[in-house]
């Protein structure tokens, strides 16, 4: 089993100043997958990633990174983009990428060459010899991401990688993540923006208050909810109302309810026979957001909508 897992964690616990940040986390990230850790700000996502990487030690529990119980032993084949980006302002972009590669054991010369290629391939060829301090925040973040992958790691850990990026750069990053995954790299990233995870991930872990509330395939999370039916009728009342499930609720001109377990056909027949006068009817598979609300709760979902500190800084 361990041979097929890029990350394996059991019972990770961490508290800061007596306050529990992470409470007994189990994780199993398959090799070659794109794995998302979803949770509102303060849920413990960053602490989990830092423990997995060995930046901080867990109070209890154990973890293995690409089969290594001491994460630094796997440092040469791991890439990490922290939430709070860190680059030397005076370094040029190429040197910054090469230096980050050197920290992972890549010879400087090779790092410089690969760095230049990455910059040119991504339309940043003009910035090869520009110091980091002259770049925009989003561009600096892109440079750091290149530094994260320059040594061609087998596992890339990204902490809130989309924070601080505009829509175009977010799209580029999604593209890059897919490319890396297609090349066989395992990607694990944390995010508080559900649609990124929904578009990219095969598996996710939903974290709230330092605990995993769900771990599995995105489809499994969505399948926890029944398809949602939205119905608009010409007649506001009549015998057809009795055919509606008890949990049906009004949402403007629409009725909204879960698709009955008995199937949609008996419901349709009852509505027609009861004289509802169906104007519109849609059956929608629930999104990850709905699944998240159902799993982590409404409060956690509301927290997810709040911008992170990085995003606030960018907005400022």
């Amino acid at each position: 089993m361990q041979g097929h897992l890029a990350i394996e964690a059991h019972g990770l616990v961490k508290s800061f100043d007596g306050k529990d940040a992470v409470r007994g986390i189990d994780l199993a990230v398959p090799e070659g997958s794109i794995y998302g850790i979803l949770g509102p700000n303060g849920a413990g996502k960053t602490t989990i990633l830092r423990m997995l990487l060995g930046i901080i030690e867990p109070d209890s529990g154990r973890r293995a990174l690409l089969g290594h119980e001491r994460p630094l032993e796997a440092a040469k084949i791991v890439g990490y983009l922290p939430e709070e980006r860190g680059l030397y302002p005076a370094m040029t972009t190429r040197e910054a990428i090469a230096f980050m590669g050197a920290l992972r054991g890549l010879p400087l010369e090779v790092g410089r060459k690969r760095g230049e290629i990455l910059l040119r391939e991504n339309g940043l060829g003009d910035y090869v010899d520009k110091p980091i301090k002259t770049l925009s925040k989003g561009m600096a973040q892109t440079i750091q991401l290149f530094g994260t992958i320059v040594h061609k790691p087998k596992l890339v850990v990204l902490d809130e990688p989309f924070s601080g990026l505009d829509a175009i750069n977010q799209g580029r990053l999604e593209h890059l993540i897919r490319d890396e995954a297609a090349a066989g790299t395992t990607i694990i990233f944390s995010t508080h923006v559900i649609h990124h995870a929904e578009r990219l991930c095969e598996r996710i872990a939903i974290i709230a208050a330092g605990q995993i509330r769900f771990e599995g395939l995105v489809a499994e999370a969505r399948d926890r909810l029944r398809p949602q039916v939205r119905l608009k009728t010409r007649n506001s009342d009549g015998p057809w109302r009795e055919a509606l499930p008890a949990a049906a609720r009004r949402d403007g001109d629409f009725w909204q309810f879960e698709s009955p377990r008995s199937g949609i056909e008996p419901l349709l027949k009852a509505l027609i026979d009861g004289g509802a006068g169906i104007e519109e009817l849609s059956i929608e598979r629930p999104g990850l957001h709905d699944a998240f609300v159902a799993i982590a709760g409404e409060a956690a979902a509301r927290e997810m909508e709040k911008p992170s500190q990085t995003e606030l800084e960018v907005a400022a």
Binding site: I56, D59, A75, Y80
Partner: protein, 411 residues
Amino acid sequence: MMSLFEASWVIARRDFVATVYSRTFIIFLLMPVFLFGVAFAAGQAGENADREAQQAQVALVADSQTAAALQQARETLTAHTSELSFPRLRAIAPAERPAIQARALLADEAGGYSAVFTGTLDHPILTGPAKIDDSVGRRMQLILDEARTRSALSNAHVSIAPVGFGRVLTQEAAGNLRSVRHLMARGAQIVIFTVTLLLATMMVTNLIEEKSNKVIEVLAACVPLDSVFIGKLVATLGVSLLGLALWSGILGILYLFTQVLADWVSVPVAPAIGWPIFIVLALLYFAANFMLLGAIFLGVGAQASNVKEIQTISMPITIMQVMVLLLAGTAVSAGGGFLPWAAYLFPLSSPLSMIALAVQSDSLWPHLLALAWQLLWVAIFVRLATILFRQTVMKSGGRTSLLPMLRSRRA
């Protein structure tokens, strides 16, 4: 996984290059010029001003012949010593009652007299407080003796031509050598102490900047924190050695150019252990001293969240280091006993004490033992600094011990 050496090398190389290509390095290079220039100028100005202010003045309430004889005697004596070696003499016309006049002169603050001479060469009287006897009194006695001798010779129509010494030059003189070596030992200690403090502060400032721009998070994810600290220590040491090499080169060329080198080489003062080994030991002890103090600075200074806080946090370390310098001073001054041994053995004073020993003793083996001892403490201090950094800055508790660095070194 990269070995501790490889990881430290990556960090050291970056820090070294970044520092050498920064404006800070230019300032660092010019620092000796500023330091010595300011110290020399302040020292010269201060010394002259202080000594002039401290030079006593004596009023000569005597007939003109007596006053002139005393003035001339003083000039003869100062010609062979220095102007500041004898009290200034100022002739004052005598009043009817010299005793009362003398007291009035001593009470006059504007006049600033330390004593008053009255009477003649054969019946001299010096009026003034008892405490001047050891200073002004003795010197006035010399002036008086000189004046009376000259007067006696003149009266007898005898003149004595000055006779110069025939010089026999030797390579060394034990007494002279000992005092110069004493000064040399203290000088070496102070130079190492000063440069170490300067560099340690520079290095911690660099770490705080990395903390504030979050680079430390990237480093901690890639390499052991021990290697980050060692890399920084080595880089800063490298920068200082580069600076030292540049200055040595410049001074060496200047010496050759002015042909002073030959004279310097013939100066009969060399450290007891000999110049070549002394220079090597000086570099090694400087490195050890810097690594020891630097590790403490890194561990404690890293708790600061900005550059301003460093000054507050590093103050106790600086005070401690001054105490260490004083302890190391006992290795130069004390003849034996507990304190010099404490200075040799206490890790922080060991490099400073041992460099003094190199000046004063020709034994080599104590240095080999001392360097091994200091290296062990460098490893311990780096490890302790790392643990402190992990627990307080990275907020990582749990499994930390002194052993991982040794393990990773073997790896």
